[in-house]
Amino acid sequence: MNLQAAAQINSFLAAFVLLAAFAMLVQKRLYGLINLFAWQGLFLSINTALVGFVASKHHLYISSILTLSLKVFLLPYILHVLIARLKIRKEVETVMNIPLTMLIGIALVILSYHLMSPVRELSTLITRSTLAVALATVMIGLLMMITRRHAVTQIIGFLAMENGLFLAATSATYGMPLVVELGVALDVLIAAFIFGIFFFHIHTTFDTLDVEQMARLKEEE
């Protein structure tokens, strides 16, 4: 297909990723959150594949497959299993009220566009516009971790950040060197296991996954 269309689709998908991020920011239900995360992963992998196809970077296919298997299937599955095992409540409450969170999110998007504009000028790639989206996704992931007080949601936020990074890696530069991508994937995998273990520990010791409970280590007044 012609580059124009490719660029269209690319930015379209990027937008979807961002949208998913926003959706996650306001999604209260845990399962819903996980599903959204899976969707985000899906968009991401498609995008990666597309970029790989357009720019004929074949190692991007591999990373796209990696993303697909990891972010779309494996991690959501693990999360589902964990939730089932731990029998934790379905609802999660946000710390801040949603409109405000949304506003901050939007502000972040604007900020990242502003920051990335010089970089966009430099780039010749069709995917250059998505760099800002990537940064915004990362930021929103962080924002999500800040606003949520549930261990699982924090992890999901963390993974969302990872998605943002992936987006950046594929879009800003037609993909990082393969070895790096593999390494990153490996790290994500290990991380997944670790937080799996953690959920159990936290749950057994505090019999809740509310991170608010974990505020003992501090400087006393």
Binding site: F158, L165, V184
Partner: protein
Amino acid sequence: MILLILLCVPVVAATVLAFIGDRKIAPEINILGSAATCAAGLGLALQVYEQGPMMAGGKFFFVDAFNVYLAVLTSFVSMTTAIFSRRYMRREREHGRVGHVGMRFYHAMFQLFIFAMLLCLLTNNIGILWIAMELATLSTVLLVSLYRTPTAIEAAWKYFILCGVGIAQALFGTVLLYFAAEKILGEGGDALLWTNLSQVSDKLEPTVLSLAFVFLMVGYGTKVGLVPLHNWLPDAHSEGPTPISAVLSGLLLNIALYALVRCKVLVDGSTHTHHAGNIMMGFGLLSILVASFSLLRQKDIKRMFSYSSIEHMGIATFAFGLGGPIATFGALLHMLVHSLAKSAIFFTVGHASQMHWTQEMDKIKGLFKGNPLVGWGMMFGVMAIVGMPPFGIFTSEFLILTATIKDAPLLTPFLLLGVGVAFAALFRRVQPMVAGEVPTYQHPMKVAHVPVVLHMAIVLGIGLYLPEFLNRWFYTAVGLLK
């Protein structure tokens, strides 16, 4: 060749220990493994010392004066830590704080951690550097929560989340770096090799690099434990088993700082401004002040010393940010002596807290009489860490301070304020612990002499006489970091 041995030994040891880590001989294997690593490290150092910088594994590894001395330091300290952990962990186990699985896990992860750090140091690829860093974090997360106490789990969780987030930022920075490099070096792996990057650094796009540096700074800065990204550090360092605290404080922080400095070199090369330096100086100064004032009101002994690590990392960061031959020299020296002294302190602290089964300083008393080695070790360690001559840290702080007088005279008072407050705070706390009569609830124990004595001897030696080869080393390193 040696380099491969250096990297393989820990992996092998890790795999072996993963299975037999709870046997009686596990500690010995652990020591053996790290001793071999240390020997390899020394061999490598010798090679570099004779032949100068070298690449290995097809540009994949790169060794120069800067990272090889850190590699030697890392392998050496991990060896002494292994020696220390033999007695320490045995006692922990007798006391039932860790079980079979725990011991296996501990030993395996310890070796894996060493591997991660060495990989960090030796790799030539900034991406791999990032991965190894993440690996180092992940391998220690579960060690921090080894004791399964609520506080331990909390600490580990915070460590995991905060460092994860930080590292994520670093990855974004790396991506941007790659983005900039790719234009010059073309696509593919070469664009992330430090050797190539450093050659073309002045062609790299300044705006992108300064953006990238922000993310790298925040990312690796979190690992270095710079204020205000430091909050995980006191928790993680104080809750884990003491050997882990020793290597975390003594080594991991150095590694993160190393990564940061590598990046700074690139950025400086590209932007030709002192922005990066200023940012680092800002973080450093903030860390020094906050940490030293926090020291004043500590009750938990390990927590106190982890704050002091923050302070010293602040000093080193400040010095690197300051730049210039003397400051950089001082910073390199400071990294070396600090990690030696700090790990020595943690050894004594570990024994002290085991002798009283508490980390509360008010309950620890009479170490001079109770166990002279621990008492005097801690005393001299603290004297070293607060920068009393003739210990090495005085030399480095002397250089850094005097360099500051030249380049940023107005910052000297703050620097001194920090150092002075830290001095008072630490002595105020340590004095009652070492002095006085032995309390009834203190029970004697066999302690590991070798590591403490060895470390303190080296720190003292460096303070009195900096060997020529180290000197040359540092100078070449200074040259590299210009």
